[in-house]
Symmetry: none
Subunit: 225 residues, 2 copies
DNA sequence: CTTAAATCTGAAGGAATTCTGAAGTTCTGA
DNA sequence: TCAGAACTTCAGAATTCCTTCAGATTTAAG
């Protein structure tokens, strides 16, 4: 899962990033609208956590940009103000939820989880793909009803692949989705090879078929057949 | 927006077509699976409205064909039966929504609208040429709905040819397109011959016709027969 | 019809990519 | 602080793909 946090208060931004990094998500921060727009162009997010009051304008204005470039992304608004106006305006423009500062990080977490369930997976907390079932709430994958224990990277990888089934994902896009900005330039793809190998092994061990296809010279694709 | 209605009851099909034509959509009807497959080859649809019970088989079987050639098209299933089985099977196979007969045309309309909102944005790049379909996102070519596995060079070559169908491409322009600047001066075209050969072989093996014509002394042309 | 050039074909190196097991490093929770 | 899990790195093996080549076939021109 890939999140964008647009928040100018450095401490808060850092705290949010730290929290979600710990729970295994890829999270990218931006401290103003300008930076956020830049990130939105180069990344595909699942959710944007958006502060309303930013140094170079209102977060409200960013909503339409977000909706234009990434139609399936969820938006959660943060605001110090308790004003109903902003809330209503934000939700009207397409935001999905609203949180008033100050808040507990755990509340943010549960709202984020709820939104992501709703937005990426269209209201279903379970993704099915032939004999593979991914339960997002439990963060647990099953192969023909047997649970398989996946590490964070493996789970994200499987999710990314299944969410883009039948689509070829380049190694670069996989790297970007799983590691975010941190990998600027890759000299090799060894870690992708390794995680793919381990994921395949675990799925096969439970009797799953080999849906994960290598596209030589490009990347991987999760496909029927 | 372009819709396909697969429905054998003439009155119902006509009513659906009339309604959507009035609201400005392009809609094409088919009264059985055979006809539907034909339309699917020659058109790119945003949504298929699919009756389950058809004279020459179950609409369920059509779903995989649709998904193969146009994986991002929306599918809405109609059924007289209220059976859960069909619904579940359909949705598992990739249908996006379900409507039980009898229904109000206005309900069909709002479901169609909702589906199209969701699927049209995914705008998939599909190039068609007679029975050959090239899906760019999947990086997959199909010959009459059967996938053929192509290497990178073969895929680029096919794409280049189909994108310039009915136009003669010189060997030099092919070389430049596939290998870029790297080839300054060619002493022979052996590698082009080889890739053309392999491409032809793979297409023929799946029962495709020989659209790939040699223009002696110049190059190649992909053409109608 | 003859001949030379162009194209086709299968096979065989060789290069690049991917796979794999294992070892090394970092992270995390007790 | 320590042990185990997760992640990354590494080197050799395996695989796939690209190119080259030599002989066969086809085409165009004389």
């Amino acid at each position: 899962m890939k999140l964008l946090v647009v928040e100018d208060e450095k401490d808060l931004r850092q705290a949010i990033c730290d929290f979600f990094v710990k729970s295994g998500e890829v999270i990218i921060g931006a401290e103003n609208i300008f930076e956020a727009e830049d990130k939105l162009i180069s990344h595909q997010f699942d959710l944007v956590i958006l502060d309303i009051t930013l140094p170079d304008g209102s977060g409200i204005d960013l909503i339409s940009t977000i909706k234009k470039t990434q139609s399936n992304v969820g938006i959660l608004i943060l605001s110090a103000k308790n004003s109903l106006d902003d809330k209503i305006q934000g939700l009207d423009l397409g935001a999905d939820d609203y949180l008033t500062k100050p808040f507990h990080i755990s509340e943010l977490n549960s709202r984020v989880k709820a939104l992501v369930r709703r937005s990426i997976f269209r209201g279903e907390d379970v993704i099915k793909f032939n004999e593979i079932v991914i339960n997002l709430e439990q963060r647990q994958a099953y192969v023909s009803a047997s649970p398989i224990s996946l590490t964070n990277k493996e789970f994200s990888l499987l999710l990314f692949l299944v969410n883009n089934k039948n689509r070829v994902l380049t190694k670069d896009s996989i790297a970007e989705h799983l590691w975010g900005d941190s990998v600027e330039y890759l000299e090799n793809y060894d870690f992708i090879y390794t995680h793919i190998k381990n994921l395949r092994k675990k799925i096969l061990a439970e009797g799953g078929q080999d849906y994960l296809k290598t596209v030589h010279g490009i990347g991987y694709k999760y496909c029927d057949l």
